[in-house]
């Protein structure tokens, strides 16, 4: 197997606060191959955004503490100089953010903002950057791009602004595109359009994509591989089929149970996961999900489960239950009607 494009090894990100040290990311390891689409799923505060912001070294909080390594094309990004990192940002790894309403600078035209990035990374002649900006706006489906290039962000709708953000991110043909909840702030109909756009552009530009979301439904269509994060750790990892059809971790069951599915025979009630995520300052002993887990037993309190492959190739989970137990209980939890017929 070829060297992965990005490999994150035992990454820990903590913040010093007045109440103690918050372990936002607590030992996360994963890889992203060239051209691959990886979905990172988890509720807010699970550390998914912090992980990817760390890859870009975009966390400016002076109280942050990093441990572990982030290897991109053979270089540890945690250790490269600021200037090298600047060269990586935007040109090799680009990022799209959650809220398109606030992610563009209100006082510059969108053309100016795209050209700024182009000029930073390429030595362009006058007019070239502008032509490229108009071209990019055409590619992301902005109508009348030659006119709109001189408009300010507030003159665009939310969905159009997210398209502008995508144009901005793709302007230097990055190898890796990080999309942090790119559709969360948008209307449902627009969400589908934006996801479709990312899918098509990924094909055209050949970038690898890391899609961060709290909604498993969003990654169902697009992701090759899915990581499920909970309380700063990865609790399950696998390809799309493994996660959707053979989920191993009770937290993943919970996530699956809380989305409406059209591929199941009977409409049923959506189930919610009871309780709240644990404090990242005083992590409960044993499994972090244990306080909310209906399946928890003695071992879960005593011992912290490791992320290991139990069921099959590339399908990892961190749960103490045996495979048989899991399958039985899972069907009872997320598919009662299937469990009865089984």
């Amino acid at each position: 197997m070829a060297e992965p494009l990005l490999s994150v090894n035992d990454l820990k990100v903590s913040f010093r606060t007045e109440d103690g040290i918050v372990r936002a990311v607590d030992g996360v390891s994963f890889t992203v191959d060239e051209g691959e689409v990886v979905g990172i799923v988890g509720e807010s505060g699970s550390g998914k955004s912090v992980t990817m912001m760390s890859v870009m070294r975009l966390i400016t909080d002076p109280n942050v503490i990093y441990q572990g390594e982030i290897v991109y094309k053979g270089r540890n990004l945690m250790q490269v100089s600021r200037d090298t990192m600047r060269g990586v940002r935007g040109e090799e790894i680009a990022m799209i953010f959650q809220d398109p309403m606030t992610s563009l600078n209100p006082v510059y035209t969108i053309g100016w903002q795209i050209e700024e990035q182009l000029n930073e990374h390429y030595d362009l002649k006058k007019g070239q950057a502008r032509r490229r900006a108009i071209e990019l706006l055409t590619q992301v489906g902005i109508p009348k791009p030659a006119e709109r290039v001189d408009d300010y962000p507030h003159q665009f709708s939310g969905g159009m602004r997210q398209r502008v953000m995508i144009a901005l991110a793709l302007s230097c043909n990055p190898d890796l595109l990080i999309a942090d909840e790119p559709t969360t702030a948008l209307d449902v109909t627009i969400q589908a359009q934006i996801l479709e756009l990312i899918k098509n552009l990924k094909r055209d530009f050949g970038s690898a994509v890391v899609l961060i979301t709290h909604d498993l439904g969003v990654v169902a269509d697009i992701a090759d591989r899915i990581l499920v994060m909970y309380a700063g750790r990865i609790v399950e990892e696998g390809n799309k089929e493994q996660i959707f059809y053979d989920p191993q971790h009770p937290y993943t069951w919970g996530l699956l149970g809380s989305i409406a599915r059209l591929d199941r025979p009977k409409a049923r009630r959506l189930t919610a996961i009871a309780g709240q995520p644990p404090s990242l300052i005083n992590r409960p002993q044993g499994c972090s999900f244990r306080p909310r887990c209906p399946q928890a037993f003695d071992r879960c309190r005593a011992e912290d489960p490791k992320l290991t492959a139990k069921v099959g190739d590339g399908h990892l989970d961190a749960c103490h239950l045996s495979i048989e137990d899991k399958r039985a209980r899972r069907d009872a939890t997320i598919n009662p009607e299937l469990a009865e017929t089984a």
């Binding site: 404090s279 306080p291 909310r292 887990c293 209906p294 009865e340």
Partner: protein
Amino acid sequence: MAVFEPEAEGLVLDAEETGGDVVGRSPWSLAGRRLLRNKLALAAFALFVLIVAVSLAAPLYAHRVAHTDPYASNLSGTFQLNGKTVQVIQQGAGKLGLGETPVGPTWHAKYFIGADSQGRDVMARVLYGGRASLFIGVGSALLACLVALVLALVAGYFGGITDLVLSRLMDLIWAFPLYLLAISLATVLLARPTTKPLKIWFITLQAASLWIPLLIIGIVYIPYVFRPIRGQVLSLREKEFVEAAVAQGAGSLRVVFLEVLPNVLSTVIVLLPLMIATTILTESALSYLSIGVQPPKASWGTIVEDGQTLLYTRPWVAIAPGIMIVLTVLALNVFGDGLRDALDPRSKVRMK
């Protein structure tokens, strides 16, 4: 197939597991904790309290320590210094042996930092001046905050025509440059050529009453407090908890006092020390221009003005009250900053 019941104890979150340190406390106690951690703000507050205490003790100093009357001029008096008799106003002590010069700092109980051109003990006057300055500063800031709070609650909550009228009125005072408005009011109300009491409708004020500058300064600052609070009331009115109270049939008064008021109160508390700092500076400026505190009463501003003619010979007369102003205003600003950081960490409230 066995159906597993969720374990009851698994769903109960222990306090230590939710890490609810932060979640469980009221915003007020959190703010208190943050404020107590801010040593600089606490020191500033202590300094302010000290200045207030010292000013309150002015009569004690004047009668017990300096044995002097801060208001009576003492042009031909003498006093004992290190066993020698010294003239309070010394003839021909100036550079060319001309004119009259009051005695300089003795660094003793009597005339500690010297006398002014009337032969009065400057130290005692500075302490008495502090009473006037603090009274007007605190009083006018309280007045401005209180009136602005009531008006903002009425305008912001009832909206419509009430809000329109009140806001336009405030805009009008706002458009009037603050010091020009103060000068206009002071000219008419204070700098009158007579000493007859002032009668406005049913209020009678003595010509030299401290209430006149207090009212003038209080009035001109109302819009400065009104604006941020009205904005906050308007946004609170849209909040779910207020709508919920209204939906439950709570009356207007009830909603205003029980739902809206507690939420804007922290804004007023944050603004208050900063307002006092501002009003003390304004009072000193008006008094320096002789349209603030009127003789025989004195405030720090009037003493600085008194000292201007003696500046090159007896600089302490002007320096001392100025230092008191700087210390007081600085203490209030530092404390106010700390209070804002504690109560309003995201800094919604800003002056101007």
